[in-house]
């Protein structure tokens, strides 16, 4: 089982769109896929039309009072299950803090479904917190969407240092540009200028397209409702770059 997390300290950069679309593509090619919506805002859960409710909430899940399997929901797509968000996830840091191995608990929870899934996506809330630390330890790959702006590069730098300083196994960081607008000179400049000798930066750039925004209206992944759209092709390219072997 490979774990990929879409993560950025900043919000509104395309984490959820990426997690939803890549999870759909992984499932479409026959991989048993799970998406865990860790963000209490529950956007991924909403996109899959699942109710944002986990019985017992974060406390029961993190405290292992209820098995993770009991909270899983099938999506409308073959091979793709969802572990929905719950508003109580806003307190997940506190629940994690009460556990013995507080920075490893999410990884331990995922171990219990390791035989059921080939790929797990973690859609993370925008913050640096105990949840983030757990995500670092549980993930094999950290997918970091960046809006092409100078401050985004600074954020990537902070994140890279944070991961480098963390103890134990560290995920591979793969950054990629998201919500890019080639008409804007700043976007073009940042994309061209990003140093490619340090952190891995994917070749694929996800453009700012209205069809991606339509996901919220259609409540489905882009490749499901617009399979030949440019956005769908971009997500397919990105998946081809980051797909676990």
């Amino acid at each position: 089982m490979k774990v990929l997390a879409t993560y950025n300290i900043k919000g509104g950069v395309g984490k959820t769109s990426t997690a939803v679309n890549l999870a759909y593509l992984a499932a479409r090619e026959g991989r048993r896929t799970l998406l865990w919506d860790l963000d209490p805002q529950a956007a991924a859960t909403y996109l899959f039309r699942v109710r944002a409710r986990v019985k017992g909430g974060s406390h029961a899940l993190v405290g292992r009072k209820r098995p993770i399997e009991a909270a899983l929901k099938a999506t409308d797509f073959d091979n793709l299950d969802l572990l929905p968000a719950d508003f109580s996830y806003r307190n997940m840091d506190l629940d994690l803090d009460d556990t013995k191995r507080r920075t490893r608990r999410l990884g331990q929870l995922l171990d219990s479904v390791a035989d059921d899934y080939d790929v797990v996506f973690l859609d993370c809330p925008p913050s640096i917190s105990l949840v983030s630390e757990n995500v670092m330890h549980a993930s094999d790959t950290l997918l970091v969407p960046l809006i092409p702006a100078t401050l985004s590069l600074r954020t990537l730098d902070q994140l890279t240092r944070f991961v480098a300083d963390s103890q134990g196994s560290r995920p591979e960081i793969v950054a990629f540009f998201s919500m890019a607008d080639r008409r804007k000179r700043l976007h073009r400049d940042v994309i061209d200028a990003i140093p490619r000798d340090g952190t891995r930066v994917a070749e694929t750039v996800i453009p700012a397209l209205s069809i991606i925004e339509q996901m919220a209206e259609r409540r489905a992944p882009v490749p499901a409702f617009a399979p030949t759209s440019r956005a769908a092709l971009c997500y397919e390219q990105l998946w081809a770059e980051v797909r676990p072997t």
């Binding site: 026959g30 099938a74 073959d78």
Partner: protein, 509 residues
């Protein structure tokens, strides 16, 4: 997820099932009281359910379907417990085939360890008209899938409705099922396909049953196994067809031998040699199968040589096998083989009415006691004579005696104490394992020498010869190890408590 998946059929209500079809409107109307029903288009689906000949997938609780629709093909794997089905797009798959032809991924990972060396074959194959109904809740989320499934021809399985639960929505599937129950549908068990015969041939018989009845049943069962495995053997579906065919022949031979006093003379004079000849016919291909199957393990034995050095041996084995298989297939397709089977069938039909040759063994119980006791005595006697200088042939003969005892314990299983039988088989198995390793090493070593000579004459590079030399060295060491373990294994088999148990199984109190 599978816990709430149900297959339903229409009862006698003509509104629901007319002829081959299902009444869509009535079904949708019933489900629409609770759900928004999205009706998919009707499409033709060819469904081939795949399994090994001995139904390993079904035993493991797995269902694998190769579905072909106008838009493409896919494999759908359903497992036990709550896991969701896995669907994988595929192209160009043809059956029978080993699991290694499946695309890399979850389906192959789940299937390959279960099927092992057995090929996937089509267990059932139907063309159906299928329409999918998706039941949505108020959020527009699909919470249940209902599949209306109608046969294309009247001879196929009747129309049915399958309510498929989605993970996390089992309660909704039960609810949808109840709506269909109210409409007059009733649950049905999934139909079973034809199975290879595996039940104990003598099940249901008691000790007082006539010995001839028991023997007829056992021998008929072995014949049925030969017949069942013959098509797969002739088509070379996988190596186990030949293996199982040979086991049935060996069991026939052992039964004929053990039951001589209860059988007419013709069995000894005519049928024992006939089945020996049949067994011998199959030996060369089986031996070559064993090499091919063992080759990956043998590659791991190499220390100095490169595994690639064994490629000429692999090629040589394949060529030899192709030649030997042609001979085998020709013999098994011959008129004389067909005649042998027909006449054996006639012989078995006569046997059930033939009075026992020896009145002492009229009952199945008496025959069981005598056969087990005699087979055991032979193992004990020949085993005790094995010494440090005994030639390999003596151990080979002892191995055959062990097999005879094992078959006797199997054939007469319903007539003897089951716990004692299990213990006896466990003791015997330990001895058989050691003797098997000893004899296999001996045969493989000799054969490798023969292959090496043939390959040298054909100009095979020295690297292959050196690698084969390493294999011979490994087999030599393995044979030595097995020989050293023999004394302990035999002592365990022949220990007083084991002796006592065998005497009990053999009717001595």
């Amino acid at each position: 997820m599978t816990s709430a998946t149900r297959t339903l059929q229409a009862a006698s209500d003509p509104r629901l099932g007319f002829g081959l079809g299902l009444e869509l409107e009535a079904i949708v109307a019933a489900l629409s009281t609770q759900y928004t029903v999205v009706t998919g288009p009707k499409q033709f689906v060819r469904r081939a359910r795949l399994d090994t000949f001995d139904r390993r997938l079904r035993e493991a609780g797995l269902t694998l379907e190769h579905q072909i629709v106008a838009t493409g093909e896919r494999l759908v794997l359903r497992g036990p417990g709550g896991a969701s089905p896995v669907a994988v797009p595929v192209t160009g798959l043809h059956w029978p085939a080993l699991a290694e032809v499946l695309p890399t991924g979850p389906v192959r990972e789940a299937i390959a360890p279960v099927t092992g060396i057995r090929a996937l074959t089509v267990a059932s194959d139907e063309r159906r008209r299928v329409r999918l109904l998706e039941l949505h809740n108020e959020d527009g989320k699909t919470v249940v899938r209902v599949e209306l499934d109608e046969p294309v021809s009247a001879a196929a399985a009747p129309a049915q409705v399958t309510v498929r639960a989605l993970r996390g929505y089992d309660d909704q599937a039960r609810r949808a099922g109840r709506l269909l129950d109210n409409l007059g549908f009733h649950g049905v068990e999934q139909g079973e396909d034809r199975e290879p015969s595996s039940a104990a041939p003598t099940a249901g018989l008691d000790r007082a049953a006539p010995a001839n009845l028991l023997l007829t049943r056992a021998l008929s069962q072995f014949l049925a196994t030969m017949r069942e495995n013959l098509p797969g053997l002739l088509d070379d579906v996988d190596t186990e067809f030949l293996h199982d065919f040979r086991v049935a022949v060996r069991r026939t031979r052992a039964t004929l031998k053990l039951a001589r006093p209860a059988l007419p003379e013709v069995m000894r004079s005519r049928w024992e040699p006939a089945f020996k000849g049949l067994g011998d016919t199959t030996t060369p291909v089986r031996d070559l199968d064993v090499y091919e199957l063992d080759l990956p393990t043998m590659r791991g034995w190499l220390v100095a040589a490169d595994p690639a050095d064994l490629e000429p041996l692999a090629t040589h084995l394949r060529r030899r096998r192709a030649v030997e298989r042609r001979t085998l297939v020709r013999r098994l397709r011959s008129v004389s083989f067909e005649r042998l089977v027909t006449r054996w069938e006639e012989e078995l039909a006569r046997l059930v009415d033939t009075p026992e040759a020896d009145q002492e063994f009229q009952s199945a119980g008496q025959l069981a006691d005598r056969s087990i006791s005699r087979a055991y005595r032979r193992v004990a006697r020949e085993g005790a004579l094995i010494g440090a200088d005994s030639p390999a042939g003596d151990l080979h003969r002892l191995r055959k005696r062990c097999k005879e005892l094992r078959y006797a314990l199997e054939v007469f299983a319903p007539l003897i104490d089951s716990a004692a039988r299990r213990r006896a088989v466990a003791d015997l198995k330990g001895l058989q394992d050691v003797l098997g390793r000893f004899q296999d090493s001996e045969v493989q070593r000799q054969a490798l020498r023969g292959f090496a000579e043939e390959m040298m004459a054909a100009g095979t590079p020295a690297g292959a010869m050196l690698a084969m030399g390493e294999l011979i060295g490994h087999l030599d060491a393995e044979q030595d190890r097995a020989r050293r373990e023999f004394d302990v294994a035999f002592a365990r088999f022949a220990r007083p408590s084991s002796l006592q148990m065998m005497h009990r199984l053999g009717g001595r109190r």
